[in-house]
C-alpha cells in the first residue's frame, strides 16, 4: 500500500478549545499537526494528533463522531469560525485536508450556543434537540393496524420535498451558526416533512404549537432572517422550511 507521500502532506498549527468538564474554565491549547496527508479527513487529522498526545502522556482532544460518513450528525465543531469548517454542504467528518494549505493555522472550538453546554473539549450536550422531537416530531401511530403502504398515494413531487426536509441530521450546526442561537431550521425541517405528507396532517396543529413552544422553553433564540443556518447546514436544508413552519404556526389558529 502506498503511504501518504511528501508532496501530498501538509503541516498545520492547531488552536484547540480545551475544557475539562462542563463547569470548568476552558482555554485554547496549541498543537502542531505534522505529516498530514491531503487525503485525510479532518477527523483523521485529529486522530493523528491525538495519537501523539496520548503517547506524550497527556489527555487527547475529546470530540464526538461515529459514522464518519456525514449522516449520523455526531461530529461538528467551529473551524476558523465556521460550523463544520470552510466547505459548503459538508460535515466535519467529510471535510478533507486537501481544502487546507501548508502552514495554515486552524482554530477549533465546540458549538457555541446557550442551549448546548460543553461536556468536554469539543463535545457538547445536544439533548435539547431530542427534547424538541419528543414534543411532537412524529406521527402518533402505534405498531400494527396501519393501512397498506400504497393506500394513500403521495405525489412524487411532495415526497421529494418531504425528503429534502427529512435529510436533516440533527447535528446542531444551525443553532451554532446563528447569532441568535435559533434552532428553527432543525425544527422547521421536521415540521415541514410532516406538513407535506398526508400522514402528518391530522396532528399538524398540535405538532407545530408543541415543538415551537418547546424550542422557546429550552432557550433557543428567535429567527431574524440572518440565514447563517442554511448557509452552514451540512445537508443544505433550505430556509424555506422555516417559512413553512411559520405558515403552519399561523395556520394553527393561535393568531386567527
Amino acid at each position: 500500500m502506498k503511504q501518504a507521500n511528501g508532496d501530498k502532506c501538509i503541516k498545520l498549527k492547531l488552536k484547540v478549545w480545551r475544557q475539562k468538564t462542563q463547569g470548568s474554565k476552558g482555554r485554547f491549547e496549541s498543537f502542531k499537526a505534522e505529516n498530514i496527508s491531503k487525503d485525510m479527513s479532518f477527523l483523521e487529522m485529529l486522530d493523528v494528533v491525538n495519537e501523539k498526545i496520548i503517547l506524550s502522556g497527556k489527555p487527547p482532544i475529546a470530540f464526538d463522531h461515529d459514522c464518519r460518513e456525514g449522516i449520523c450528525g455526531s461530529c461538528g465543531a467551529m473551524v476558523n469560525g465556521r460550523a463544520h469548517g470552510p466547505e459548503k454542504g459538508t460535515t466535519l467528518c467529510q471535510l478533507h485536508m486537501r481544502h487546507f494549505s501548508d502552514g495554515d493555522t486552524v482554530v477549533i472550538e465546540p458549538w457555541r450556543s446557550r442551549a448546548f453546554k460543553v461536556v468536554k473539549d469539543l463535545v457538547v450536550d445536544r439533548s435539547a434537540l431530542d427534547k424538541i422531537i419528543q414534543a411532537g416530531g412524529y406521527v402518533s401511530v402505534n405498531t400494527g393496524g396501519v393501512p397498506d403502504g400504497n393506500a394513500i398515494p403521495v405525489p412524487q413531487e411532495i415526497a421529494e420535498k418531504a425528503m429534502d426536509a427529512a435529510e436533516c441530521i440533527g447535528c446542531g450546526a444551525c443553532a451554532a451558526a446563528c447569532p441568535n442561537a435559533s434552532v428553527m431550521l432543525f425544527t422547521g425541517a421536521k415540521i415541514s416533512q410532516f406538513a407535506l405528507l398526508p400522514q402528518g396532517h391530522p396532528e399538524a396543529k398540535k405538532r407545530v404549537l408543541a415543538m415551537v413552544g418547546k424550542m422557546d422553553q429550552l432557550g433557543f433564540g428567535n429567527c431574524t432572517n440572518e440565514k447563517e443556518c442554511a448557509a452552514e447546514c451540512p445537508k443544505e436544508i433550505s430556509i424555506i422550511n422555516i417559512a413553512r413552519m411559520n405558515r403552519e404556526f399561523l395556520k394553527s389558529g393561535l393568531f386567527s
Binding site: E69, V123, D130, Y138, V139, G170
Partner: protein
C-alpha cells in the same frame, strides 16, 4: 446442552400464526409491572423500545451516542426489501424467502427466514404510516429498485439514505414514548456486563461515559440490540463505536455465540488509501443497478480508464454470470474482485480496486436521472476521492461490512440465557453465511416491531420471576469485576496506543480470516492474535482516568474484547471445514472457484460456549433441516 430452536410444528406458512396463537399473553393490566431493559437504539432497539412501551411495559433504553438517532443504522444507504410485489414482476413471500435462504447459502433456518419474508410487508406499511418519505413514482405509488441476489425489484428506498429515514421513523416512535413517560432513556452509556441471577438475565452494568461512573440496572428481561462486530477488522464500513462488547460479555455469562466466522465483505466500497485511515466508506449496492464492473483485460495495464477501449475491457461479472450480471450476491462479487486483483488486473494507485462505471447508464438515461437516484452517493464519493463519477468510473474494492454471526437465539429470539433476547445484527438468526442486500433493515425492524412483542410477553407470562433489585449481590460482584478490569487497563501505562493494537488485529484478520481463508493461515492467525493479546495486557497505553469522559478508555475496553473475540472467529473458521457464502476456505471450491459446501458434515449452526479465559470454547451444533427447499449448489449464471 442441546440447542432447542423451538421451531413450531406445522406447515411453513402457518408456523408463525400458529405460534403467535400458542404464545402466552400478559394481561394488559399486568404489563406495567414488568420492566425491560433495551440496549441499543438502532432499528432493532428503537423499534423494540417503542413497541414494548406502547403495549404498556416499563422500558429503559440505553445507547452509546448522545442521541438515540445516531445509532449505526442511520448510515444504511440502499434500501429495505419487502415482498409486496407492487411491480407485478413475480415476487411473493415465497420468493423472498427462497432468495434469502439461497443467498445465505443454505445455512439459515427455514422457519425464521419465512417469518421474516411474511412480516416484511407489514414493515413497509408501518414506516409509511410513520411518515417515512420513501421514493415514489409519478403515480404517487411507492417506487422500487433492484438489489443483488434477486431477479425481482422489491427494494424500497429513500434516496441513498434509507437507514436514516427508517431510523428517524423508529426514533420518532421512541421519542413519543419518552414524552409519554413510558420509556426512560439513558444516552452516553456503555453496557459492560450482563447480570445473571438464578440462571436468568436480570440486569446490566453500564458505564456512564460522561462521569465514568458504573451504574446498575435491574429488570425482568434484557433485550440486546447492540449491532454487529465488523469493527473487529478495524477497518470496516461500520460506525466507529460499533463493537462486540455487550454481546461478548453476555457470551461470557453463558449466551452461546453462533457462527462467529460468518462475516460479510461488501464488494463496493471506496478503496483503502493510507495507514491513517480510520474507516471505509460504502458505496451502496444499489449502484450495481446501473453501474458496470470491469477491469482491463491485460494484466498490469496502467492506462487511464478512458484510454482503454471497449474491446480491451473485461466486464467479468456480466461475462461469468449472465443470469444476474452485476447483481450477483455480495460474497460472489467480492471474491471475484479479489481474484481480478490477484491476477494483477487491479486498477488505481494501489491496484487494489476495480472500476464501477456509469458511462452507459448516463448515456442511456441522462445525467439527471442518474443524479436523482444516486446523487448523494456520487457527491460523497467525490468528497472523499476528489474524482467525479459522472466523468470517470468509480474505483471500488471490497470491505468488511456486516456480520451474519451473532449471539445464538431460538425462534423466539431468546439466547441460551433465559430472559436475554437478542435482536438485529447482534443475533445470528436469518442470513446464514451471506446476507443479501436490503435485508438487514428488514430483519432489524421485523425483530423489533413484529416479533419481540409476542415472544417476550410469553416469556414474562410464564417465567416465575422473583423480585430483585440492584442491591442483589450479583450486581456488586459484576460491577466489581468491571471496575477491576478498567483499573487494570489504565494502570498498564505501556508504550503502544489502543488504536495501534486494533489496527494490527485488523490486519491479521483481514489477511487470514477475510475474503479467502486457508487452514494454515487460520492457525497462524490464532497464534498471532494470542500473542497480540498478551502484548496488549502488558503494553497498552490508555491514558487519563476512569472517572472521566475518556474516549481512549472506551476504545481500550472494546479492543480488549475484540482481541478475545477475534480468536473465537478464527477457531470457528477452522472448525467449519467447508466453504459457504462469506466463509471461503480455499481447500473447498468448485472448478469455477465458487464456494463448495459440505452438507453432509456442516449443514448446521455452530454455537460457541465460553468455558473460561484461555480455555477452548465448546462448539455446539444445531442441525439445519430443509423440508421446503432443496439444497443446491448456488448458481447465478
Amino acid at each position: 446442552m442441546k440447542l432447542d430452536s423451538k421451531i413450531p410444528d406445522g406447515p411453513l406458512s402457518e408456523k408463525w400464526d400458529r405460534h403467535r396463537f400458542e404464545l402466552k399473553l400478559v394481561n394488559p393490566a399486568n404489563k406495567k409491572k414488568f420492566k425491560i431493559l433495551v440496549v441499543g437504539t438502532g432499528l432493532a432497539g428503537a423499534s423494540t423500545s417503542a413497541t414494548l412501551a406502547e403495549l404498556g411495559y416499563e422500558v429503559e433504553t440505553f445507547c452509546i451516542q448522545d442521541s438515540p438517532r445516531r445509532a449505526h443504522s442511520i448510515s444504511a444507504q440502499g434500501g429495505i426489501n419487502a415482498a409486496k410485489n407492487y411491480q407485478n414482476d413475480g415476487d411473493s413471500i415465497w420468493r423472498l424467502f427462497y432468495d434469502t435462504i439461497k443467498g445465505g447459502d443454505f445455512r439459515s433456518r427455514e422457519a425464521n427466514v419465512y417469518r421474516l419474508a411474511q412480516v416484511s410487508n407489514n414493515i413497509i406499511d408501518q414506516c409509511v404510516a410513520q411518515g417515512v418519505p420513501f421514493a415514489r413514482e409519478y403515480s404517487g405509488m411507492l417506487a422500487n429498485r433492484s438489489f443483488g441476489g434477486a431477479q425481482v425489484s422489491r427494494t424500497f428506498y429513500a434516496r441513498g439514505q434509507t437507514g436514516q429515514q427508517l431510523l428517524l421513523g423508529a426514533y420518532g416512535a421512541l421519542s413519543r414514548q419518552i414524552a409519554a413517560g413510558k420509556v426512560k432513556l439513558f444516552t452516553r452509556r456503555d453496557m459492560l456486563d450482563l447480570v445473571v441471577i438464578d440462571g436468568k438475565a436480570r440486569g446490566i452494568i453500564v458505564r456512564n461515559l460522561v462521569s465514568g461512573d458504573l451504574e446498575k440496572y435491574s429488570a425482568d428481561a434484557v433485550v440486546l440490540a447492540t449491532g454487529g462486530y465488523g469493527n473487529v477488522f478495524y477497518l470496516s464500513t461500520n460506525a466507529m463505536a460499533s463493537n462486540v462488547s455487550a454481546a461478548f460479555a453476555s457470551y461470557k455469562k453463558g449466551a452461546f455465540f453462533a457462527n462467529p466466522c460468518f462475516t460479510q465483505i461488501h464488494p463496493t466500497c471506496i478503496p483503502v488509501k493510507g495507514t491513517y485511515q480510520s474507516k471505509l466508506t460504502l458505496m451502496s449496492e444499489s449502484l450495481r443497478n446501473d453501474g458496470r464492473v470491469w477491469v482491463p483485460k491485460t494484466p498490469g495495464d496502467k492506462r487511464l480508464p478512458g484510454q482503454i477501449s471497449e474491446s480491451e475491457r473485461d466486464y467479468y461479472l456480466e461475462n461469468k454470470y449472465p443470469g444476474f450480471g452485476n447483481l450477483v450476491p455480495r460474497d460472489v462479487a467480492s471474491r471475484n474482485a479479489k481474484n481480478q486483483c490477484d491476477m494483477d488486473k487491479g486498477v488505481g494507485d494501489t491496484q487494489l480496486a476495480v472500476y464501477l462505471d456509469f458511462e452507459d447508464a448516463i448515456k442511456r438515461s441522462g445525467q439527471d436521472v442518474i443524479g436523482k437516484k444516486y446523487g448523494n452517493l456520487f457527491k460523497m464519493y467525490e468528497k472523499i476521492t476528489a474524482d467525479n463519477p459522472y466523468e470517470t468510473p468509480m474505483k471500488i474494492y471490497p470491505a468488511v461490512h456486516y456480520t451474519m454471526g451473532g449471539l445464538w437465539v431460538d425462534y423466539n429470539l431468546m439466547s441460551t440465557i433465559p430472559g436475554l433476547f437478542v435482536l438485529g445484527e447482534a443475533n445470528f438468526s436469518d442470513h446464514g453465511s451471506n446476507r443479501l442486500g436490503a435485508s438487514a433493515l428488514m430483519q432489524g425492524l421485523a425483530d423489533g416491531y413484529f416479533i419481540i412483542p409476542y415472544t417476550i410477553g410469553s416469556y414474562l407470562a410464564e417465567a416465575p420471576l422473583g423480585k430483585i433489585d440492584e442491591d442483589h449481590k450479583e450486581f456488586s460482584l459484576s460491577s466489581l469485576e468491571v471496575e477491576t478490569r478498567i483499573k487494570k487497563l489504565i494502570s498498564i501505562e505501556g508504550g503502544r496506543t489502543v488504536d495501534s493494537f486494533h489496527r494490527e488485529l485488523g490486519r491479521i484478520l483481514w489477511e487470514y480470516c477475510g475474503m479467502s481463508r486457508n487452514n494454515s493461515g487460520l492457525k497462524k492467525a490464532k497464534k498471532l492474535i494470542r500473542d497480540l493479546r498478551v502484548e496488549y495486557w502488558e503494553n497498552v497505553l490508555v491514558g487519563g482516568s476512569e472517572k472521566d469522559f475518556n474516549q481512549s478508555l472506551e476504545r481500550a475496553w472494546r479492543v480488549a474484547d475484540f482481541l478475545e473475540f477475534g480468536e473465537l472467529m478464527v477457531i470457528d473458521a477452522l472448525e467449519r471445514q467447508e466453504s459457504c457464502g462469506g466463509h471461503f476456505n480455499e481447500k473447498y471450491q468448485t472448478d469455477t472457484h465458487e464456494a463448495l459446501r459440505d452438507d453432509k458434515h456442516f449443514c448446521h449452526v455452530s454455537a460457541g460456549e465460553f468455558r473460561g479465559d484461555n480455555r477452548k470454547p465448546k462448539f455446539h451444533k444445531e442441525p439445519l433441516t430443509f423440508e421446503n427447499v432443496k439444497l443446491t449448489q448456488r448458481s447465478y449464471k
